[in-house]
């Protein structure tokens, strides 16, 4: 266990080393949220609510989605692909820890760093610039915390899956990019799932994507009430367990097929 905690700490310190990155990081998030704020204001003009969400809830939704993304987002899929291409993965595999577990911990270290140095200051700045609404109910915050932890788990599992596919394809830049767009679109990051046409919502129920962004953001903006919150959390929990299976199977097959291209 200690070595995994150490991984989180090292990655956290690594992130700290590139200081300009987090100043610009905060700016990026503010600019992004700003763009969506103006766009949504124009979309809402004259309407008090769309799909049961007020403009204030919508702005908060956008802000929280992006801030939560800072926490669950990581590049471990790219790192795995890179390590396979450069042949470093052979060395990683003989080390006394689980490779996938270690990658997840590195992702967590990154997430914790971004949460404290990017999300929190970012939220403070955006709340000064744009009208955001924060709940005063402590339970909402608790559910939200639980929910973004599960978002991290599910997103990391999908990243690991995409990364492990590199063992078979050797060069999968395109696949990694495609995965990113699918997640941006179907996780509810740029559009709440409730805005999609009915048939699309039905289809999305069968995929894990909305567990990544839509559910935590809806919980935070209190657009979900009572049973919907619990259902959302259970949906997340279910997927984080289901995804373990393909991950294990793929990983087993991948280790057998390892081709080291260099290194």
């Amino acid at each position: 266990m200690d070595k995994y905690l150490e991984m989180i700490r090292i990655r956290f310190l690594m992130m700290l080393a590139y200081r300009t990155n987090y100043y610009t990081g905060i700016l990026i998030y503010c600019i992004n949220i700003g763009a969506y704020y103006f766009l949504w204001s124009a979309i809402y003009s004259g309407k008090s609510a769309i799909q049961g969400m007020s403009i204030e809830q919508m702005t908060t939704y956008v802000a929280v989605s992006w801030m939560a993304r800072a926490f669950y987002f990581n590049n471990i899929d790219r790192e795995i692909a890179m390590e396979i291409k450069e042949g470093k993965v052979a060395v990683e595999l003989i080390r006394p820890y689980s490779y996938l577990g270690m990658k997840t911990m590195q992702g967590l270290g990154e997430g914790v760093f971004r949460l404290f140095f990017l999300s929190f200051p970012g939220v403070v700045i955006t709340s000064l610039l744009f009208p955001l609404h924060f709940s005063s109910d402590i339970r909402t915050w608790g559910y939200f915390a639980l929910s973004i932890m599960l978002s991290f788990v599910i997103n990391s599992q999908l990243n690991l899956l995409a990364g492990v596919v590199t063992f078979f394809t050797l060069n999968n830049e395109g696949l990694l990019r495609a995965k990113r767009f699918v997640i941006d679109l179907f996780s509810g990051l740029i559009l709440p799932i409730s805005f999609y046409p009915h048939w699309a919502q039905e289809v999305m129920k069968y995929f894990p994507f909305q567990a990544i962004s839509y559910i935590p953001s809806m919980i935070f903006t209190e657009s979900f009430h009572g049973k919907a919150v619990i259902d959302g959390l259970l949906f997340q929990l279910m997927w984080s367990i289901i995804l373990l299976l393909p991950l294990q199977l793929l990983w087993k097959a991948a280790k057998k097929r390892l081709v080291v291209q260099g290194g």
Binding site: T20, I43, I50, N172
Partner: protein, 261 residues
């Protein structure tokens, strides 16, 4: 003439390397298509809940987006310098480039060519064609040339801004994430400029003129007379910003000291 032949030789070389990973090239096309549809789906879904966006209709928004894809694809194909700092400065590749007998910027651009991005331009044309059919737009014979001029102007605006940013690496070789930030700002230029407040509108017109890549030139084809003067400024802004970028580059090169091995 020499530059033209170098260009074509690089192009041939490029094709060969790309065809090595054929399956990946296919997936790359698909992922490009997905990237383009993300924004399109956004527009479509949003207009399921509203009919006008500050007086702009859904099809007009789609037209702007389609237009934007063309200069953006040209930029992506020929000015793909996102990782300039990492590749050329941090790893010291710039030293190699400087020993060659062609202009260093030309050389860097050729090495980083990504011709498959041009597919995005084709998607853009299709989207634009579809939108203009539904809007019953009428085109004149000279509109074709104006379109070319505007698309090239938009590409130069993009190239100018991003090359200028890349030159920062000559003075400071620290890693930074300015590039993705600029990418986010450039997204603003795709939406009707009048939805933003005055400060942002000013910035998008004169300082980081991304509005010239999307909304301004499109306004001409959409017959929005109040924006015509801005539309015709597009190629001029492109040339000005590209010239500034080259000047900065030439200045930066003199300042450059090798960092790698």
């Amino acid at each position: 003439m020499f530059y033209v032949s170098v260009f074509f030789q690089y192009m041939a070389q490029y094709m060969k390397t790309k065809l090595q990973y054929r399956a990946d090239l296919f997936v790359e096309f698909l992922s490009d298509l997905m990237f383009q549809s993300v924004n399109l789906i956004f527009i479509l879904v949003v207009f399921g809940h509203t009919t006008l966006l500050h007086g702009w209709t859904r099809d007009e928004m789609i037209f702007i987006y389609g237009f934007f894809l063309v200069p953006f694809a040209l930029f992506g194909a020929f000015f793909n310098i996102w990782d300039f700092n990492e590749r050329y400065i941090v790893r010291g590749e710039m030293d190699r480039v400087l020993t060659r007998p062609v202009h260093s910027l030309f050389q860097v651009i050729l090495e980083r060519m990504e011709l498959e991005s041009l597919v995005g331009g084709v998607t853009g044309l299709i989207i634009m064609g579809d939108a203009s059919a539904r809007l019953h737009l009428e085109f004149h014979w000279y509109d074709f040339f104006l379109f070319l001029l505007f698309a090239l102007g938009g590409m130069l605006v993009y190239a100018g801004v991003f090359i200028s940013l890349a030159t920062i690496s000559f003075w400071s070789d620290a890693r930074s994430s300015i590039m993705p930030m600029m990418y986010n700002i450039s997204n603003y230029g795709r939406y009707p400029i009048d939805i933003y407040n005055r400060v942002i509108r000013y910035i998008l017109t004169w300082i980081l003129p991304f509005a010239f890549v999307g909304v301004y030139p499109s306004a001409y084809f959409l017959g929005k007379k109040e924006w015509y003067s801005y539309a015709f400024l597009t190629p001029i802004m492109g040339v000005i910003f590209f010239m500034i970028a080259i000047m900065l580059w030439n200045k930066g090169i003199k300042h450059y000291r090798g960092a790698g091995n």
